[in-house]
Amino acid sequence: MPFDVVAQQPKLLYLLQGVAAFAAVVSLLLLALHRGRVRRRAAALLLLAPALLLLTVGLLLPGLRTLGLSFTGTGGDTWAGFDNYVWMVTDPGALVALRNTLAWVVLVPLLAASVGLLYAAAVVRSRLRVFALSLVLMPMAISFVGAGVVWKFVYAYRPAEAAQIGLLNQLAVAFGGEPRQWLVDSPWNILFLIVVMVWTQAGFAAVLLAGAISAVPGELTEAALLDGASRRQIFWRITMPSIRPTLLVVVLVQAIGTFKAFDIVKTMTGGQFGTGVIAHEMYDQAFRYGETGRGAALAVLLFVLVTPLVAHQLRARRRAA
C-alpha cells in the first residue's frame, strides 16, 4: 500500500502537534536559560521538570496504583485487605514460584560470576584474549526468547527407540543412557533453565572481570612473585581483593536481572512442571487469569525484593565516584 498522505492526514496532524509542542518546550527552556542572570535554582528546577513529570507519570503513579491494586480482589474493584499477600505465602503454586525465584537469584549470579571469573582468569594473559572474550560474549547478543527457543531444542525429548532431536538426549543415548525429559522432571528442570540464563550472562561477567583483572597493577603481582608467592596465592590474595568491587557489581546486576527472569521460563516451559518464577506467575495471575490483585501483590513483592539490591548498588557507585 503506497503512503497515502490524504488518508494519513489525522496522523500527520497529531505528529505536527507533537512536534510543535516539543519545539515549544525546548525553545522555552533554551530561552529561559539564555536570558543570563537567571537564578540557578529556577533553572535547575526548569531542567528537572520534564524528567520529574515523566517519572511521575511513568513510574510513580503506576507504582502507587499497583500498590493499591494489590489490596483488591478479582477485577480490581473490591477491597480485599491483605488477602492477596496471604494467598502468596499459602498457595502451593505461588510458593513454588517463590522457591524457584530464590533458587534463580542465588544460583544465576553465583554461577555466572564464577564461570565468568574462571574464563576471564584463563584468557586474560592469552594472546587470543579479545577473540576468546568476544566468543563468550556472543550469547549475550541473543535475546532471552531466542536463547529459550535454542535451548528448548537442546533439551528436546524423543523416545529411546526413535531418533533423538535434542543434543543433550543424543549425548545421553550415545553414552548408553536413557533419554530423559529434562524440562519436565522436577525439581532438576529448574537447573536446566538456570543454565540458559547463565549461558547468556557469563560473557558479561567475563568481560567485566577480565578488564578488572588486567587493571590490577603489575607491580603488585611482581612484588608478590619476588616474595615467593605461588600462582594460587597471587590469585586469592592479590587479584581477588583488587577486583572485589567489580565482582560485586557483576553479582548485583545479575541478581537484579534474575529477579525479572520471565522470557526464558515463558518460552521454555510456560511455567509448567513446577518451574514458575515470580515474574511469570505475576503475568499469569494478572493477565491470563484476570486476578489483577494477586498479580499486583506479586509485583509489589518483586519491587520490595529488588529495592535493597538497587539501593546498595547506587550507594556503592556514589562511594566509588
Partner: protein, 443 residues
C-alpha cells in the same frame, strides 16, 4: 536559537520517517469484479466506516476469515480491519484496560467473555443479533454468551472434542470394529495391547496451556459416566471439584493414560506425553505404533501434509462412546463474537457473523464447523467436519461445553491444567483433585 531549530527539524525528519515506515500494510482489498450485493442489502450501506476485529486466529485461518467477509465489506462499504494475535487471551485485557478495545473480539472461552461483560465493557447484543441467535443456535449454545439474562454475542466457531482418531486400515487388518460402547472401547484397547502395540497415544505439551488435552479427557469421561446434570453442577462448582464422581472419572482416564501398557503408543512410557506437543501426538496412528488418539475435530489440520481423511482413507474419527449407545454426549468448544462498540457498522458486521450465510460461506473456503442450525453439512470441507456438523445438528446429541473454559480462568486455564500435568507425572488422583479444589476462587 539555531540549535533549537535544527533539533526540531531533525525530530520532524525522524518522526516522519518512522511513521512512514510504520504505515500498516492494510488488508489489501481483493479486486472485485462482479459481486452480487443483493444478499447483503439487509446490512445497509456504511461507506467510509471502519470496524476493527481482534482475535487469536492467524495465518491461513485469518486469511480464510478475511476472504469470507470480503464481499460483505465490499457491498456495505465497511472497512473490516482484522488483527490476529496468538497472545489474544492475555492481550485483550491490556487492550481494554488501556482504552484501545477493538470494536469486535472473537472470544475463545465463554469465561473470558463473561469477565468483560460483568465489567460492563461489552455492549449487549442488538435486537437483530438476538433474533439471529434464537433462530440459529440451540438454547445451550446461546446460554454460553448470556450473562444474567443478557445476550452478548453469538457462537462463531464450534468444534467437537469427543473424537477418537484411528486408522481404518489398522482396524481392518486386525479385524477390529469401531466401538459403540465404553466396554467395546476397552475391549479394543485390550486386544491391541495384547498384540504388543500400545493402543493409545497422547501429547499434552502446549506451552503454558500444557495439560489441556488431559482436562478434555476427564471432562469427556465424566460426561459419559455421570451425565449432563452432574457435569453442569461440576463446572459451575455446585459440587466440589474433588467430588467422588469426578475422582472416579479421573481414575478411569488414569487407567488408560497413566497406564504404561496402554500409553503412550509411539512415544514410550505414559509420562512421555508431557514432552510431546499435542499437534504431533497423533502421528503414530499413521505408522501403526498407536491405534487411537482422542482429539478434537480441529486435529484434522494437524495431520502431516498429504494425510487423507475419510472412512476408508488414512485416518478417520469416531465419537468417544459412552455406556449406552443411544445417548450421545458430545464435548466441544467454541468461539464467540462480542462487541465493545455500539456503532451501526459494528452492529451490521456482528449480524452478518451471526447469519447462517456467513457460516456456509466460510465452510466453502476451508475446514470450519459451525453449530448454526442453518448450515448445510454438504458444504463441509472434510468428512470429519461433516460428521461434526451432523452431530451438532442431531437432536439426540447432548452437547456440553469444555468445562475448563467455563471455570474461572485461574482454575480452568491454571490449576486444572497444571494439576493434570502433575497427575500424568505421577501425582495421585485425590491429591491433585484436592489441590484444584483448594485453588477455586472463593468469590
Amino acid at each position: 536559537m539555531r540549535f533549537g531549530a535544527r533539533l526540531a527539524l531533525a525530530v520532524i525528519a525522524l518522526a516522519a520517517l518512522a511513521t512512514a515506515c510504520g504505515v500498516p500494510q492494510g488488508s489489501g482489498a481483493q479486486p472485485h469484479t462482479a459481486v452480487d450485493c443483493g444478499s447483503y442489502a439487509r446490512y445497509g450501506k456504511h461507506p467510509g466506516t471502519k470496524v476493527t476485529v481482534y482475535a487469536e486466529n492467524r495465518d491461513r485461518e485469518a486469511d480464510l476469515f478475511e476472504e469470507t467477509w470480503a464481499d460483505f465489506a465490499h457491498c456495505t462499504g465497511i472497512d473490516v480491519q482484522y488483527e490476529g494475535d496468538g497472545e489474544f487471551e492475555a492481550q485483550i485485557q491490556l487492550r481494554v484496560d488501556g482504552g484501545s478495545a477493538p470494536d469486535v473480539a472473537f472470544f475463545p472461552q465463554p469465561g473470558l467473555l463473561e469477565r468483560f461483560a460483568r465489567a460492563g465493557k461489552l455492549k449487549p447484543a442488538s435486537a437483530g443479533v438476538v433474533a439471529l441467535a434464537k433462530q440459529g443456535w440451540s438454547a445451550d449454545w446461546n446460554s454460553y454468551a448470556t450473562i444474567d439474562g443478557t445476550l452478548y454475542g453469538t457462537p462463531l466457531v464450534a468444534n467437537v472434542k469427543s473424537f477418537v482418531w484411528y486408522s481404518p486400515r489398522f482396524f481392518r487388518d486386525r479385524g477390529l470394529s469401531v466401538p459403540r460402547t465404553w466396554s467395546e472401547l476397552m475391549a479394543v484397547t485390550e486386544k491391541v495391547a495384547a498384540s504388543g502395540v500400545k493402543p493409545w497415544c497422547a501429547g499434552i505439551e502446549s506451552a503454558e496451556a500444557t495439560g489441556w488435552p488431559v482436562t478434555d479427557w476427564i471432562e469427556d469421561v465424566l460426561l459419559r459416566q455421570q451425565g449432563t446434570d452432574v457435569y453442569d453442577r461440576w463446572t459451575a462448582h455446585e459440587i466440589p471439584f474433588n467430588d467422588p464422581r469426578v475422582i472416579k472419572a479421573m481414575d478411569t482416564v488414569g487407567s488408560i493414560l497413566k497406564n504404561d501398557r496402554y500409553a503412550n503408543g509411539g512415544f514410550g512410557p505414559a509420562r512421555s506425553m508431557a514432552s510431546i506437543s499435542f499437534q504431533e501426538a497423533g502421528t503414530p496412528v499413521l505408522s501403526g505404533d498407536c491405534a487411537m488418539h482422542r482429539q478434537a475435530s480441529f486435529y484434522a489440520d494437524m495431520w502431516p501434509q498429504g494425510t487423507e481423511i475419510g472412512p476408508d482413507k488414512d485416518v478417520y474419527a469416531f465419537l468417544l462412546p459412552g455406556a449406552d449407545p443411544a445417548r450421545r454426549p458430545v464435548l466441544g468448544g467454541g468461539v464467540f463474537t462480542a462487541v465493545f462498540a455500539d456503532r451501526p457498522e459494528v452492529r451490521a458486521y456482528q449480524e452478518y457473523l451471526a447469519s447462517a450465510d456467513f457460516a456456509n460461506a466460510r465452510m466453502k473456503k476451508g475446514p470450519f464447523v459451525s453449530a448454526n442450525k442453518g448450515v448445510d453439512p454438504a458444504n463441509a470441507a472434510t468428512p470429519v467436519d461433516r460428521l461434526s456438523i451432523q452431530l451438532l445438528q442431531d437432536s439426540r446429541t447432548q452437547f456440553r461445553f469444555d468445562g475448563s473454559d467455563l471455570m474461572p480462568a485461574s482454575v480452568g486455564a491454571g490449576t486444572f491444567w497444571k494439576g493434570s500435568v502433575d497427575w500424568i507425572g505421577g501425582a495421585g488422583t485425590r491429591q491433585v483433585a484436592d489441590s484444584v479444589e483448594r485453588s477455586w476462587p472463593s468469590r
